[in-house]
């Protein structure tokens, strides 16, 4: 994690204090984000700014500002972006309008309180928030919290790895393109599985979708990250 020599030898990651994604918007940010990042120190090198900005979605930057600075302006941006989408997702999942609103409130509150658990090496804001919403919905529907794996704790002294974060953002961009290129039928199967109830016996239909390559690329990147972290843990 300390070195950034894989894949992107041209990327230099200076030691950052906590926030890795936020500061890199300064050069090109519209004013609301410039305000949000005022006072940030330890900026990324200029040549990484544009690459990172192009591949990293804004909500992840907002979530990092919430995590590291408890930034309410950034939290409002998250709310404006995600609340109507979460509501749409929950309505598709069968909730009535009022319940969907309540669950959105719960989910956004959890985003505020659990932001410290967000790790930009392993997830984008949208995936992390999707998981919180899905779990909250299951919890309500079954009156039983869904089981989650042990929390991964970053080993002490692990520096934010700009290359890994950027690589994840690039894979996410590829994933969005692949989703955009899917036929309506294929997209429907995915949306049904992720937003509604698709019996687990039917989930295997998803493996036939043209997402396998991009999925395994993401997986390989995340696996490599775990390996590096484990080496850091057991020197």
């Amino acid at each position: 994690m300390v070195q950034n020599d894989r894949n992107s030898p041209d990327v230099i990651a200076p030691p950052l204090a906590g926030a890795v994604g936020v500061s890199d918007t300064v050069a090109t940010a519209p004013c609301h984000r410039a305000r949000m990042t005022a006072g940030e120190s330890g900026l990324l090198q200029a040549d990484t700014v544009n690459q990172t900005d192009a591949t990293r979605s804004d909500p992840t930057l907002w979530l990092l500002a919430v995590r590291d600075q408890r930034d309410r302006a950034a939290f409002l941006l998250l709310f404006e972006h995600f609340a109507p989408r979460l509501k749409a997702m929950l309505l598709r999942g069968g909730l009535r309008d009022g319940s969907a609103e309540d669950v959105v409130q719960d989910v956004m509150l959890a985003v505020w309180h659990k932001a410290a658990q967000f790790d930009p090496h392993r997830a984008e804001a949208s995936a992390w928030i999707y998981r919180i919403a899905r779990n909250r919905h299951i919890d309500l529907a079954r009156r039983k919290a869904p089981p989650e794996p042990d929390l991964l704790v970053e080993p002490e002294g692990a520096e934010p790895d700009a290359a890994q974060i950027m690589a994840l953002g690039q894979e996410a961009a590829l994933l969005r393109r692949a989703l955009g290129a899917m036929s309506p039928d294929q997209a429907r199967v995915l949306e049904q599985a992720y937003f509604e109830d698709l019996p687990h016996s039917r989930i295997s239909e998803m493996t036939g979708l043209p997402l396998g390559t991009i999925k395994s690329r993401i997986r390989l990147g995340l696996e490599r990250l775990r390996r590096d972290l484990n080496e850091l843990r057991q020197p």
């Binding site: 979605s57 309410r72 939290f75 404006e80 609340a83 109507p84 989408r85 979460l86 509501k87 749409a88 997702m89 609103e101 959105v104 409130q105 956004m108 509150l109 505020w112 309180h113 392993r122 997830a123 804001a125 949208s126 995936a127 992390w128 999707y130 919403a133 899905r134 299951i138 079954r142 039983k144 869904p146 089981p147 989650e148 794996p149 042990d150 894979e171 996410a172 994933l175 989703l179 995915l190 949306e191 599985a193 992720y194 937003f195 698709l198 687990h200 989930i203 295997s204 998803m206 997402l211 999925k215 395994s216 993401i218 997986r219 990147g221 995340l222 696996e223 990250l225 775990r226 484990n230």
Partner: protein, 211 residues
């Protein structure tokens, strides 16, 4: 710990990530993810699809005042939560299913013990303790059975399963796992149909024993 060689099938992992797995199976999946970095990475990749779909869903407008209501709630302290953590060979999701207490084993005969964690119409979840070298009585089941080794090992026609390994058995396969000689085998098993142990207990008594 030796390397994990038997992983979760794609369909099960996707069903877990999308919230489409019955509780008993979800606990086994979450326990495996706690032990297996490779499958954790696969699950995170699958979650990324959920995030991308969430990003592109057509938004549904929130009611007026929703934002103010949320902002007013930010300063209230979050509800206190004391998460139950992993302990010994049991990952956090198993300890949670155990309610934070060590298992209370019940004898099944032949030195085999079990602790039923949950049983409902969707499936059952239990811990099994098998003495070294002992065979689990021959059984078949009408559905899916997912078994995760937490300690020791067992072997059957599908291979050897050590700590962290999961076996997925379908339908009417008769299999007879035998615990390895190195020590007692403890595993976590979920099924979506009642198990029928042929050798030990007559069919009629099964509802009483919930096995």
């Amino acid at each position: 710990m030796t390397a994990i060689t038997h992983h979760l099938p794609d369909a099960l992992l996707d069903a877990y990530v999308t919230g489409n797995l019955p509780h008993a199976f979800a606990v086994v999946v979450a326990a495996h993810l706690s032990l297996c970095d490779a499958c954790r990475a696969r699950s995170e990749a699958a979650e990324m699809i959920g995030g991308a779909l969430l990003d592109r869903i057509a938004p549904a407008a929130m009611r007026a005042g929703a934002q103010d209501r949320l902002l007013a709630a930010l300063d209230r302290a979050p509800p206190p939560s004391v998460p139950i953590a992993a302990s010994g060979i049991f990952p956090a999701p198993v300890m949670q299913a155990l309610g934070g207490r060590p298992p209370g084993w019940r004898m099944l005969g032949g030195g085999i013990r079990q602790h039923i964690l949950s049983a409902d119409s969707e499936g059952s979840l239990r811990l099994l303790y098998i003495p070294p070298g002992r065979a689990v009585p021959e059984h078949s089941h009408g559905g899916l059975e997912l078994t995760l080794v937490l300690q020791g090992s067992f072997s059957d026609s599908a291979g050897r399963f050590g700590p962290g390994d999961v076996e997925t058995a379908h339908d009417d396969i008769d299999h007879q796992p035998v615990a390895g000689p190195e020590g007692p085998c403890i595993c976590l098993a979920a099924t979506d149909a009642p198990l029928r142990f042929r050798a030990m207990i007559p069919r009629l008594l099964q509802p009483l024993f919930r096995i």
